[in-house]
Symmetry: C2
Subunit: 153 residues, 2 copies
């Protein structure tokens, strides 16, 4: 059986190999406990004109964290699918002046509901929330709708 | 008087100097006619695991195009302000398989309304729409709310 550590290492390697901006932003997986995925990017390569974190980097870290949480949920169930984000909203409540640390927690009930018909329909949709804090305050709130299609065989 | 060409050159230089991901994504200004700002990023450094444009790059190009349109509108009016995006929504309708070309058109009435009280209040807010096409079809629809504060003196 594939360990969680092997899965998250594969996830990060996929990002860095296949998504050049993820490598440039040095986006990496820092923790996964089976429900919450934590992804981090260093401040220095993600700063903006104000000396805080770039809005596009904050979004990219969030959209990849949600994508990664979906990818992990699929793999844990022995499913294979092509995951794309269909739409998303992001609110920037506070500036982030240090490393960008994003968390996405999946709800078992939501995952089971989303994947219930996947094997027969070949399509699933999942709404996920991701957050980035600064200190102990919420800095960024992200919601993304991910659509999963069966991979062509 | 500063020419439009000098302004857009300054805008792009600012992005590449102060925002490392904008340089990594090679995001550049291609045209500005005083109303529509066109920004482009090459496909090769912005691809994803599917061999199409990365959602985070599409967002980054959009958020910077809106920021740039706001920056140009301020400069053309002899105003100075610190511009941040407060919130945004993005819909990914079609995959983009070539260069990422984003357009943002500002409406003179909206700009005048947004900047009307800026000199006295020191704050303005602007809702902008940006789009990215693939072929002759709309691929990405972005809306962003930008907040401008008078720069500390």
């Amino acid at each position: 059986m594939t360990t969680p550590e092997a899965l998250t290492a594969e996830l990060q390697a996929t990002w860095h190999r296949d998504i050049p901006p993820a490598a440039a932003m040095a986006i990496g997986v820092t923790a996964y406990d089976g429900r919450t995925l934590t992804v981090r990017a260093p401040f220095e390569v993600n700063r903006n004109v104000h000396g805080t974190a770039f809005a596009g980097s904050l979004f990219s870290v969030c959209v990849l964290t949600g994508w990664g949480a979906t990818w992990l949920a699929l793999r844990e169930r022995g499913l294979a699918g092509s995951i794309v984000v269909a739409e998303s909203q992001i609110r920037y409540r506070k500036a982030v002046a240090g490393d960008l640390v994003c968390r996405c927690t999946t709800e078992p009930h939501s995952l089971e509901a989303a994947f219930a018909g996947f094997a027969t329909s070949g399509r699933a949709s999942l709404l996920l929330s991701c957050t980035i804090d600064t200190g102990d305050k919420l800095a960024v709130a992200f919601e993304g709708t991910y659509v999963i299609h069966t991979k062509p065989t």
